[in-house]
Symmetry: C2
Subunit: 210 residues, 2 copies
DNA sequence: GTTAGCATGTAAGGAGTTACATGATTTT
DNA sequence: AAAATCATGTAACTCCTTACATGCTAAC
């Protein structure tokens, strides 16, 4: 009820579960996790950490207080780690698999946290996303056949490329789902797609689906 | 100086240049143009229109005021169209080709408006985006070789897929640039890539770039 | 000794969403 | 006569960015 999605919060909790860190380092890891571009600003990160501390999900310990024999010169680096409640909250969030898990903004983060997610939830999320993308294909193809006369060449080309990208992601998901089903918990075979080679290059917009 | 990027505003002006419309219809066209998903809300659209009117770039005329002989029952539909200043402003915006034109948030809209953009600007934007994506490839490959040990299988797989997507877009841009250079103003050959067939499927992360 | 990178934060504001509020018109 | 869809708007709120502000530490 109170759980305001909060992709950023989820990512923070997920990374801190793996290993405690201070803000500055966390940001770098987050930039990789959140899609490798879009450098997250400190103006987002620090207030988010503050909020998580206020809600008792993480605690920040000044790393200079710990070592016994003096070395007291160094700058305060606040290392954050999960509390018991934080771990519980994270587990709850990771075991959920509603639409919020497979939308564009959150799917990547949920996927990156799959190591900490149980097998059934992983499959449910992958399938949810696949369904979502299939709907999107439907929408694009529909708008294509409905209004292709009124669209100029560039809009059309953009549409075509968008469709290609989505189709590519669907194939990716299919291979992932295959992998998850095949082995209970074995590793991902990178890029190998057993029965379906790359040669599906026909006229994508013809609608050879269903 | 004053030109706060405003992707939405640009898209609105671009669509209204093609043909005057009322808000509701505009929204549907915008949803296609802005990437086919992410349904734009009225809470964004109407205030944006209001702002454009306030700045004198568009005017809204109540479509029921126009017809001479009474038909006065129908609901007010406010049809918006560009003013002279609006057209000027749009031309200025469309002839610019700074980083703001080829970033993720704006590139699609700029591309969709290519019919209204001159040939040199089109090429500059396409090349700008290509360079941007090449940088991104560099970043991803770097972080991959720097920290592949510390990354779990899923993060790695996500990275690999992201790389593939970006590589695909680079090839797309290459074919578009080719097309733009080849003909001065001829149409886009849909999906046909002259010299480079789809068979570039090797180990993407090996870094066969440069 | 100065540049680059480490490290933490705050204040103001931009760009959008959700939820609310209202009513007309068309289709079933 | 009900349901869908057309049509326009506002208020509150969320999430994030930019710009500011501060100071330490390592490398050149």
């Amino acid at each position: 009820m109170r759980a305001r999605a909060g992709v950023l919060e989820l990512a923070i909790l997920g990374l801190l579960q793996e290993t405690p860190m201070h803000g500055y380092e966390l940001r770098k890891r987050l930039n990789v996790l959140l899609g490798s571009f879009r450098a997250l600003s400190y103006g987002s990160l620090y207030p988010a950490l503050k909020g998580l501390v206020a809600r008792g999900l993480i605690v920040g310990v000044d790393s200079q207080a710990a070592p016994p024999h003096a070395l007291a010169g160094k700058r305060a680096r606040i290392v954050y780690e999960l509390t018991a409640e934080g771990k519980e909250h994270l587990q709850d969030a990771l075991s959920s698999s509603g639409p919020a898990a497979w939308e564009d903004e959150s799917f990547d983060v949920r996927f990156a946290l799959f190591s900490q997610t149980d097998a059934e939830t992983r499959i449910r999320i992958l399938e949810g996303r696949r369904t979502r993308l299939a709907e999107r294909l439907e929408t694009i193809r529909e708008s294509y056949s409905r209004a292709r006369e009124r669209m100029d060449e560039y809009t059309l080309e953009l549409q075509r490329h968008g469709l290609e990208q989505v189709e590519h992601e669907v194939r990716w998901l299919d291979s992932l789902i295959d992998n998850e089903r095949g082995r209970g918990r074995t590793r991902i075979s990178r890029g190998a797609r057993p029965g379906t080679p790359d040669t599906a290059g026909g006229d994508s917009l013809a609608g050879n689906d269903k």
